[in-house]
């Protein structure tokens, strides 16, 4: 783990000496017709590290997640997850990668327990259903249909499904957006319990990033504009907080749209 203000959990192994990154994004460019979503983006996520990806809405965060997950093929550059190509080696990557996508629903009419069982069937060595549900404190809601869960519970279930296959790399996209403080803290505790996994956390919540992440990458208009531990990013621009550093680097507040400047 690199130095920084991130409090990624006392059980998390030190990864500073490890040389092989768990995730490599190298000079990646992704375009949608005429719009450039990612422009020459490079980053490394070390094994066991929690890397935060920050940016305003439309900065390219979700495109980055989708490219790492193999849902989008980059126009240029390469992506590797534990040395595997997410597009060419799709199935192999899905076995080691757990993804919680922003705004992806689940089957409304199925219960929590049925959804966990369904997703367990997709993996060779899944976590027991009880363990997956306990990780997100949903054991008591096992027999409740997805459509009857609160927003926070739906999000927690989505995280449980991302973790049910015992992934070595976990991608969490907008983990706590729209949730109340209690629900957010519950999900933070779940992330803090991931002591052996590599985590890529996409967020525009500064308190979340400062609490959970070892390092952060700040995206603006599809480009990386800052990278380092939260403390390093703050120091680099002479800001008093990560929130202020974000404002100085992007000209916008976290959560604003890309074209708001």
């Amino acid at each position: 783990m690199t130095s920084g203000t991130g409090a990624a959990g006392p059980g998390r192994p030190s990864v500073g000496a490890m040389t092989e990154p768990a995730v490599v994004v190298d000079a990646v460019r992704v375009t949608y017709r005429d719009a450039v979503a990612l422009d020459d983006v490079s980053l490394r996520v070390r094994p066991g590290e929690v890397l935060g990806v920050l940016g305003v809405n439309g900065a390219g965060k979700t495109t980055l997640v989708e490219t790492i997950a193999g849902l989008r093929r980059p126009d240029a550059g390469t992506v590797r997850v534990l040395g595997l190509d997410p597009v060419a080696q799709r199935r192999a990557v899905r076995r080691v990668l757990g993804v919680q996508l922003q705004e992806a629903r689940l089957h409304d009419a199925l219960t929590v327990g049925e959804l966990v069982d369904l997703h367990r069937a997709f993996h060779a060595d899944p976590r027991p259903a009880d363990e997956a549900l306990a990780m997100v404190e949903l054991t008591e809601r096992r027999d409740v249909r997805f459509e009857r869960l609160s927003g926070g519970q739906q999000q927690r279930l989505s995280v449980a499904l991302a973790l049910v296959g015992r992934p070595r790399v976990v991608v969490l996209d907008e983990l706590t957006t729209g949730l109340d403080p209690r629900a957010r803290r519950r999900l933070w505790a779940t992330v803090e319990s991931l002591t052996s996994e590599t985590v890529l956390l996409v967020s525009h919540a500064m308190d979340e990033v400062e609490r959970l992440c070892d390092r952060v990458v700040l995206l603006d208009a599809g480009r990386v504009v800052a990278e380092g531990s939260p403390a390093e990013v703050v120091d680099r621009v002479g800001a008093a907080s990560l929130d202020e550093a974000f404002l100085r680097l992007t000209g916008r507040a976290p959560g604003e749209d890309e074209d708001a400047a």
Partner: protein, 248 residues
């Protein structure tokens, strides 16, 4: 994970959702039975020769075509487009299973629904209206298999091009009524202009009705409708594969 285990889990999940959507069961079960009872009550005792009645050679084939076409081009695509629109396909696309397994599970559950609906229709026709049980079961099953392949391929094409669930239902219904009208759902196709009647004969609804009518008696299966079903299955499946989007 084995593909079989994942596929079995997907089929179980799809089955649960279909069973819990009780309103959706009206299409494969209640609607065809109602259609059968109305038509059989009006024309059921009319003999057409060889001991066969209008129920055997027209009403039952039309009811079967209604079940297969309705489930294939309306029900199945609306489910699939809902899955795509709400992000369920996208969510599954980041798991080790191929999203195409979801499509396959949908088809299996839809086919089972259609077969159960057909079995109910035959049971009611035999028990209540003295219809003859199918004598050439092999021919009947062969026609059904080809009919299901053709209509489901058309349904997959509807799912591929429809942007929203409501547009999938609308497109599916337009297709259903077009195929039904040209295929004899509302009465004899003799009243249609000759060219439309000829086209309707080889499109899935009319081809299914003609082939099932032949399969229910002793006559050979008609070539043009069987070829029409096969061509529709191949062409529509190819077009659906080419145009289908897993993401919004």
């Amino acid at each position: 994970m084995s593909t079989t285990t994942a596929f079995g889990a997907l089929v179980r999940a799809e089955t649960r959702m279909v069973v819990r959507d009780t309103a959706g069961l009206v299409v494969p079960f209640a609607l065809p039975t109602l259609l059968l009872v109305m038509n059989a009550a009006a024309f059921g005792d009319q003999e057409v020769g060889g001991g066969r009645t209008v129920v055997d050679v027209h009403v039952l084939p039309v009811v079967v075509a209604v079940v297969v076409t309705m489930v294939g081009v309306v029900n199945m695509p609306s489910f699939l487009v809902t899955y795509r629109r709400t992000g369920i396909l996208r969510r599954l696309a980041v798991t080790p299973v191929a999203p195409s397994l979801v499509l396959a599970a949908q088809v299996v559950v839809g086919v089972v629904q259609a077969l159960l609906g057909i079995a109910v229709a035959y049971a009611v026709a035999v028990a209540a209206f003295g219809a003859s049980p199918p004598s050439r079961v092999g021919a009947l099953l062969g026609v059904l298999a080809l009919s299901i392949a053709a209509t489901y391929a058309l349904g997959a094409l509807v799912a591929a091009v429809a942007p929203t669930p409501s547009s999938a239902v609308a497109g599916g219904l337009v297709l259903f009524f077009a195929l039904g009208t040209l295929g004899g759902m509302f009465g004899s196709t003799d009243v249609l202009p000759d060219v439309l009647a000829r086209i309707g004969e080889v499109l899935p609804f009319g081809a299914t009705v003609a082939a099932l009518a032949a399969a229910s008696g002793e006559t050979a299966l008609p070539v043009a409708p069987m070829v029409g079903l096969a061509v529709t299955a191949v062409v529509a499946a190819g077009a659906a594969t080419w145009t289908f989007r897993w993401d919004r």
